[in-house]
């Protein structure tokens, strides 16, 4: 994934105008810091600048119907005057006059703010780890490259109805502040995600990577259509507790909720989290990290506050060891920020950026082979939390569910609704097997890239059928 020299220049910001509008994100960030020192020397100022291109090709009913691309030029400026802070963001033309206006408005807003007693100050200079999840082919992908992968997927589905998307994204990000901290990074992401549909079932397949070359439309189309055929003509199954083998996208959903509502220093401080540091809250088979440096991950190695990200072990062999911090939540807990501040996310606290669940030693089909009586689940859908403290979540299955008996898949079943505590599902003794497979699961906008295996769990509460 190492780039050839000068590849980042492909994402210099274009535009008419004068001054900084023709510069790259770091030049923009540095220019704003320089201007800020002139305008208000006493101000603390930080700049997060992002440039690049996002493109996404959508298909449904076997044909491309929406095909979009956007140039990105985003700047977010946060200023603080004696603990009075405000943020101003701009997506649009940004020349010298616009920069001056941006700073003026941000400072005006800050001046009338009340003093924030918990203002943590800005990051001090520190280097970020040498992470570079960049692929030139992804960065330069044209619409035809996405469309050809879609066409491969559609053809490989063998006549089944298909739907999904293929996306490519390339981002160059820069951070600078008046303490002298300066960081830059870049990342690409390519995704192909689709379903094939029989009249009675759907089957899904997906791949995500920094490199578009790893997206094989034909293989994914075959996989999706195979799943759809295997899931066809499902039967009913009584709700109740069952063993489950969860596919990677389900596991990513579980991990996402644990991070957002649990491993978040703000939630812990306020008593809304299940987390008890130092306790064996999970099965010993569970080791959970946040690690942007993992070769299977994507993204950049610093957060929106300019704090470098280093690999963080959140759960080690079942014991909770760490929570995610921003500068604000870290200061209140007398800790150091872990580098998990989202842009404009003060009300959330530290959020995951690159979760990694350590793989096990069983192939995914071997997980199924160890099931006595349970369900094999491909995807979850529309999961929502009922109570953040207990992490009880409700949602439904989607894109293929099968009954497994004595280690063998017996028959497909209709989608089921579940109501289940995600913490209880992984408690000590609850994890019967961890897959050796690893899949990068990303949100529909490439957010929260989660690298996870399949899991075999002792018990999952299916609270009703999707038909009533």
């Amino acid at each position: 994934m190492r780039p050839a020299a000068g590849q980042g220049q492909a994402f210099a910001w274009r535009g008419g105008g004068k001054g900084a509008s023709a510069a790259d994100p770091m030049a923009i960030a540095a220019r704003i810091i320089e201007a800020a020192r002139d305008v208000e020397p006493a101000a603390e100022v930080e700049v997060l600048a992002r440039g690049g291109v996002d493109a996404l090709t959508r298909f449904a009913n076997g044909a491309i119907h929406q095909n979009v691309a956007e140039d990105i030029r985003h700047v977010s400026v946060r200023v603080a005057l004696n603990g009075r802070s405000a943020r101003y963001a701009v997506d649009g033309p940004l020349d010298d006059d616009a920069i001056a206006g941006l700073l003026r408005r941000a400072l005006e807003a800050a001046r009338v703010r009340p003093v924030d007693p918990d203002w943590p100050g800005l990051a001090t200079p520190a280097p970020a780890p040498p992470v570079d999840h960049w692929d030139a082919a992804t960065a330069e992908a044209d619409p035809a490259e996405r469309a050809s992968r879609v066409a491969d997927f559609v053809r490989a589905a063998g006549g089944l109805e298909t739907a999904g998307y293929c996306s490519t994204a390339a981002r160059v990000v820069a951070y600078a502040n008046t303490n002298g901290q300066q960081l830059s990074g870049r990342s690409t992401l390519a995704v192909l995600d689709g379903i094939a549909r029989t009249g009675t079932s759907d089957g899904s397949a997906r791949a995500a990577s920094a490199g578009i070359g790893e997206l094989d439309g034909r293989a994914l189309g075959r996989e999706a259509s195979g799943r759809a055929h295997d899931a066809a003509d499902p039967g009913d199954l009584d709700p109740g507790r069952y063993e489950v083998v969860l596919g990677p996208s389900c596991v990513a959903d579980v991990i996402g909720f644990l991070y957002r509502f649990g491993f978040n220093a703000r939630a812990v401080e306020e008593g809304r989290s299940f987390v008890r540091l130092g306790e064996a809250q999970f099965d010993e088979r569970v080791t959970l990290l946040d690690d942007v440096a993992d070769p299977g991950q994507v993204g950049i190695a610093f957060d929106a506050e300019g704090t470098p990200k280093t690999p963080l072990t959140v759960v080690h062999a079942g014991t909770t060891t760490q929570v995610l911090c921003t500068r604000r939540t870290a200061a209140r807990a007398r800790l150091r920020s872990t580098g998990h501040a989202p842009e404009s996310g003060e009300d959330w606290g530290g959020l995951m950026t690159n979760p990694v669940l350590a793989p096990g030693d069983r192939a995914a089909d071997q997980l199924v082979a160890h099931v006595e009586r349970g369900l094999l689940v491909t995807d979850f859908w529309y999961t929502r939390i009922l109570d953040p403290r207990t992490e009880v979540v409700t949602g439904l299955t989607r894109n293929g569910v099968w009954l497994v008996q004595d280690g063998r898949v017996v028959r497909p079943v209709r989608n089921l609704r579940f109501t289940q505590s995600y913490v209880d599902a992984l408690q000590p003794g609850a994890v019967l097997g961890v897959g050796s497979d690893r899949a990068l699961i990303v949100g529909s906008d490439g957010d929260e890239p989660t690298l996870v295996p399949s899991l075999h769990l002792r018990s999952w509460n299916f609270s009703g059928g999707a038909r009533g």
Binding site: R14, G15, G16, A55, R58, A60, N61, G62, A63, H65, Q66, N67, V68, A69, E70, D71, S85, Y88, A89, V90, D91, G92, P93, A109, A110, R113, P114, P143, A144, R146, A147, A151, A163, Y165, S167, I195, D202, G271, R272, R328, E346, W381, Y382, R384, L386, D387, R389, V392, T394, G395, L396, R398, T419, S444, D445, N461, S463, A466, R467, G468
Partner: protein
């Protein structure tokens, strides 16, 4: 700005598009958030640029640039056409557009007090004050937020549309969370998402946050020791209007989006249980059920003068007397079923492609007050204020949770219940509705966070709603 949009359209046509349209847009937004007596976030943002849509064969190509020069617009038009042409590698039947006379006009939402004219100090004082009140009355975590948006857009199409709009929206929310030994309880006002509309700051003043801060904090604290909502397979359920707005949004609004019904959203948002062969005959609910999609309602969050294809706003019947009669549509989807556009196509910003979105999808009022519903119920549960929401990908099976419930016995509201949930199947549930709130309870709820599409777009939708009673509903599902 019309020149910018026109340059984009002309460039797309020159590059081979048989139809093109463009929106030049300027937007600004503000979010102020207070927590436990301190404003800890003040974000303001500006976005400006042009987005161009080009039609070639079966596919839309769309390109957006954060730039408002005619040169950038022309380049965006050319690239939109190139993107559409590439779609020919996986082509479908040719996309056609339902005929619409080209609109030429201008529209602005009514705004009595410009949100940007209200000082940040006043806003901060309001939010900090109500969070302090909530802390004093039992909240462990007290939060309050105000948001405002201002959008100016100039739309031009190759068919001669030329429309400009100026829309101002704002609103506010607050919540009190009480933390117990094993769980948390939360009360929100006026609802989990707050209340928003295409109005000025007068909307926030009308909410009267200070008057309600102590009450919701006390209710959150009381919920920690309230009995659990019982698990019952069938009981009478009365829903307050805020929860009804969510019920309408999830189980009616999304289900009647024509792009979903046609399968265009199958892989992500999902499809719909509704079968177009039954449009005009299917029983969606009881005789009391009358639902419209009406973007002309003054002040509602889903109101506008023209949608993002230039179609003038107009009311559309969705359910009439319990029968499914209409859909949410745009020009490309409506033509597939031989209907005119429903004028329901919108985009979040200049950098997103317009797609079918809810306007103001809501229930027309009935004839009962909430108190009459309670008095007419021998045994049941009253629930209000949404807490969790989950529905299947065909918009058929749902399970929703509310912040608060009350037992109803012998026609009287009794003890408070915590963790109330209910579940059902859409047509069965709506078919059981036998009492409906009257016009005095009709509230135009605003949802500022409806996610749909890839890349995802956050839509602003409105939901006129009243309280209603449903019979034989399963409640109290827990993990």
């Amino acid at each position: 700005m019309f020149d910018v949009a026109t340059a984009a359209v002309e460039a797309a046509l020159s590059a081979g598009a048989r139809y093109a349209d463009a929106r030049a847009m300027e937007q600004r937004s503000e979010t102020m958030h207070a927590r436990n007596g301190v404003v800890e976030k003040l974000d303001r943002a500006e976005r400006a640029g042009v987005g161009v849509r080009a039609l070639i064969g079966s596919s839309w190509g769309f390109h957006a640039v954060p730039d408002l020069t005619t040169a950038a617009a022309r380049e965006a038009g050319v690239r939109a056409a190139a993107i559409a042409r590439a779609s020919g590698l996986a082509a479908g039947p040719s996309t056609e557009l339902a005929p619409e006379p080209p609109s030429v006009g201008s529209w602005a939402s009514e705004c009595l007090e410009d949100p940007w004219s209200v000082s940040l100090a006043e806003k901060g004082d309001l939010l900090e004050g109500v969070t302090r009140t909530m802390l004093e009355h039992g909240a462990d975590i007290a939060e309050a937020q105000e948001r405002a948006w201002e959008t100016r857009k100039w739309f031009v199409s190759s068919e001669g549309h030329r429309v400009d709009q100026h829309i101002r929206e704002c609103g506010a929310a607050m919540s009190a969370t009480a933390v117990g030994e094993t769980e948390t309880q939360r009360r929100s006002y006026p609802g989990i998402r707050g209340q928003y509309g295409t109005r000025g700051w007068e909307l926030v003043r009308d909410l009267d946050l200070p008057e309600n801060a102590a009450r919701i904090a006390e209710e959150a604290r009381a919920l920690l020791s309230a009995p659990q909502c019982p698990g019952l397979d069938a009981t009478d359920l009365i829903l307050g209007s805020e929860q009804m707005a969510l019920q309408i949004h999830e189980s009616v609004g999304h289900a009647v989006e024509l792009d979903r019904i046609l399968g265009w959203e199958a892989a992500f948002a999902g499809t719909s249980w509704l079968d177009l062969a039954q449009l005009g005959s299917l029983r969606f609910g009881s005789d009391l059920m009358n639902v419209t999609a009406d973007a002309t309602l003054p002040g509602a969050l889903g109101s506008f003068g023209y949608d993002d294809e230039g179609t003038p706003s107009h009311p559309v019947d969705i359910v009439r007397g319990g029968t499914w009669v209409g859909v949410l549509s745009g020009r490309d989807s409506a033509t597939r079923i031989g209907r005119p556009s429903g004028g329901a196509v919108r985009a979040e910003a200049f950098d997103r492609i317009p797609m079918v979105r809810m306007t103001n999808v809501g229930l027309l009022p009935g004839e009962n007050s909430l108190e009459e519903m309670i008095a007419a119920t021998d045994a049941g549960i009253l629930m209000d204020t949404n807490r969790s929401w989950s529905i299947d990908d065909r918009r058929l099976n749902f399970q929703f949770g509310c912040e608060i419930g009350w037992e109803i016995k012998g026609g009287r509201r009794g003890r408070m219940l915590r963790n109330p949930t209910y579940t059902g199947i859409s047509p069965r549930f709506w078919g059981s509705m036998d009492m409906l709130g009257d016009r005095s309870e009709w509230t135009f709820w605003g949802t500022p966070n409806c996610g749909k599409g890839q890349p995802q777009q956050i839509g602003h939708t409105g939901h006129p709603a009243v309280p209603a009673r449903f019979r034989g509903v399963r409640v109290g599902v827990r993990g």
